[in-house]
């Protein structure tokens, strides 16, 4: 029953999904409790995190084992590919919402608030003309500076672009069956990811300490931290994924002709890269 005779692998019943549901529920309930200042929050959150991690490790462990025992036909492989493609598409749309907020603020709400058509907001805010970047009409007195593209974000751009290259090099090495090179490039990519995260952490520190740029800094601060923060989270997850894949590379899990796990992670990483380019242009430069 576990395996259909026709060849498409239909797994055994699995406990991971239900464990995952419990884990995710505990996780979000924990965060909600914490946000509402209810004592049990952090504990529930912690438990949720642990259960979810357990699920992730266990579930992917199963998948890896099944892959290694050759249960996955080409057709299964294609299912996984479609799955990953559409997962990434959903992530693109998540970022689209935040980019949409940025564009709306810059093109519409800020000019409106500073008295452009419809001209009447002056009735409420005797507005000094607002120009981007701004913290909004009520925060005119606030002392702060925006984050320019130089030097950190530009360096970070180069780092991410380079990491894209090293990852592609790793992919070529994998297809050539050169494990030494593969592993080397993988760790290089991971190192670049870590440096990126480090620099971004520093950038945030710099923003809070030296620029007085915060989440509370009106719409500029909101969009800046939301976009870069969500992106940073994705880099972090991507780096973790790369780490797992690197270890699997070292164990020789991938064959030149079948290495979907590697490819999926690479797609993810490239997606994170492309989002960054959007950020670099629209958050830092323009």
């Amino acid at each position: 029953m576990a395996q259909a005779e026709g060849g498409y692998y239909v797994p055994h019943q699995s406990s991971w999904p239900i464990i995952g549901s419990v884990g995710v529920t505990a996780l979000v309930v924990g965060i909600a409790l914490y946000l509402e200042g209810i004592g049990a929050g952090p504990w529930v959150l912690g438990a949720g995190l642990l259960i979810t991690l357990w699920m992730v490790v266990g579930w992917f462990g199963d998948v890896v084992r099944e892959g290694l025992t050759g249960l996955y036909s080409d057709q299964v492989d294609r299912s996984l590919r479609w799955g990953m493609i559409f997962f990434i598409f959903s992530e693109v749309m998540l970022f689209a919402a935040f980019f949409g907020a940025l564009f709306y603020a810059r093109v519409l709400s800020v000019p409106w608030l500073s008295g452009a058509d419809p001209a009447t907001s002056r009735l409420i805010w005797d507005s000094v003309a607002l120009t981007w970047p701004t913290a909004g009409p009520a925060n005119a007195a606030m002392e702060w500076r925006p984050m320019g593209p130089w030097p950190l974000p530009t360096i970070n751009t180069l780092i991410l672009l380079t990491s894209g290259v090293t990852l592609t090099a790793a992919h070529h090495a994998l297809k050539d069956g050169n494990r030494g090179k593969l592993v080397g490039y993988m760790w290089a990519t991971i190192a670049l990811g870590l440096v990126f995260i480090g620099l971004q952490a520093y950038e945030y520190y710099h923003a809070y300490e030296h620029l007085n740029l915060r989440l509370e800094t009106g719409i500029y601060g909101s969009t800046f931290f939301m976009l870069t923060g969500f992106h940073g989270m994705h880099v972090l997850i991507g780096t973790l994924m790369l780490g797992v894949i690197a270890v699997r590379c070292m164990k020789g899990h991938f064959r030149p002709e079948a290495h979907f796990g590697f490819e999926a992670t690479a797609w993810y990483w490239h997606f994170v890269d492309v989002v960054w380019l959007g950020l670099y242009i629209f958050v830092y430069i323009l």
Binding site: L113, P118, T120, S121
Partner: protein, 291 residues
């Protein structure tokens, strides 16, 4: 067998008719089932637009449903028909793609005209600023130094409490009366500047032909020219919390000279509390702070 089903059908129709009978008292009065024509040029244009589109859809509906019911009656297996085999016809399909498109263009033209007209707030002769609060309205006659708040009338407020035991029908203008009306002159191009202090509200006066959202931090503009004197009633039309259902609007449209007199009275201090004497604002402030 068929006979039995047919008889049962008639039974159902009887039930339907019975239920419809329940509703006859309301049918007599069209104001209870259709949009008001209102008392401004735009409201009448909108009413006409509404009736036009409604009629078009009814006509299309009669055609589509007519064909459907004809088919249901004639092309049924119990009449021994053999099903046809056709399954497409490019010509027909093109016709019924293009035809609706043409009809839609026909609808879009008048709609566009009315919309453009409504959008133009220039050349107004006076302006009123309207502010939505949880859960009452504030009015300010711009440049006239007259402002006041307008709340649900007390008798309605008492009657509307849960299990008040008061029959709403015994309260005159239940839920559509206020303590202070917005007095406006007729035949005057009035601009409204609409905003809110806490959450989003929406200022809706059906007889003027539009509603406009009151959005905190922004000001929306629109205009009207009221053609007939009278008392017009409207309400908040955007969910704004617990008492959203209890913030009515009453406009009293009067002749210009009457309006001037009323305004002068207000400026002179008028009836206690009706002017911009600050007491109301303070009251409102307290009420807001209490939340």
């Amino acid at each position: 067998m068929t006979n039995m089903i047919a008889r049962r059908r008639f039974g159902h129709l009887g039930l339907l008719a019975g239920l419809m009978l329940l509703a006859t008292p309301a049918l007599a009065d069209f104001s209870l089932i259709n949009m008001t024509r209102g008392v401004t040029e735009s409201s009448q244009e909108i009413y006409d637009l509404h009736m036009t589109i409604f009629t078009i859809t009814v006509v299309i509906g009669l055609g589509v449903f007519g064909a459907m019911f004809y088919s249901i009656f004639r092309h049924r297996k119990s009449r021994g028909v053999k099903p046809a085999k056709f399954h497409h016809s490019t010509a027909v399909e093109i016709v019924w793609t293009v035809l609706p498109l043409v009809i839609l263009v026909g609808m879009a033209v008048p709609a566009t005209r009315v919309l453009i007209d409504l959008d133009d707030t220039s050349e107004s002769e006076m302006a009123v600023k309207i502010t939505g609060y949880q859960w009452f309205w504030g009015y300010e006659y711009m440049g006239e130094d007259v402002q006041f708040l307008s709340r649900l009338a007390t008798d309605s407020d008492v009657a509307r409490q849960l299990d008040s035991g008061i029959n709403p029908a015994s309260v005159p203008n239940y839920l559509q009366n206020v303590d202070r009306r917005l007095v406006l002159p007729v035949d005057t191009r009035i601009k409204f500047q609409i905003t809110a202090a806490d959450v989003i509200h929406s200022w809706w006066m059906p007889d003027l032909g539009w509603k406009k959202d009151a959005i905190p931090g922004f000001v929306n503009e629109t205009w009207t020219v009221i053609e007939e004197p009278g008392v017009y009633r409207g309400r908040c039309a955007e969910l704004c919390g617990r008492d959203h259902g209890f913030m009515p609007i009453v406009v009293e449209a009067v002749e210009r000279d009457e309006y001037e007199a009323w305004l002068a009275e207000q400026q002179a201090g008028g009836e206690p509390g009706t002017t911009a004497d600050g007491t109301d604002a303070a009251e409102a402030g307290e009420e807001l702070a209490a939340r």
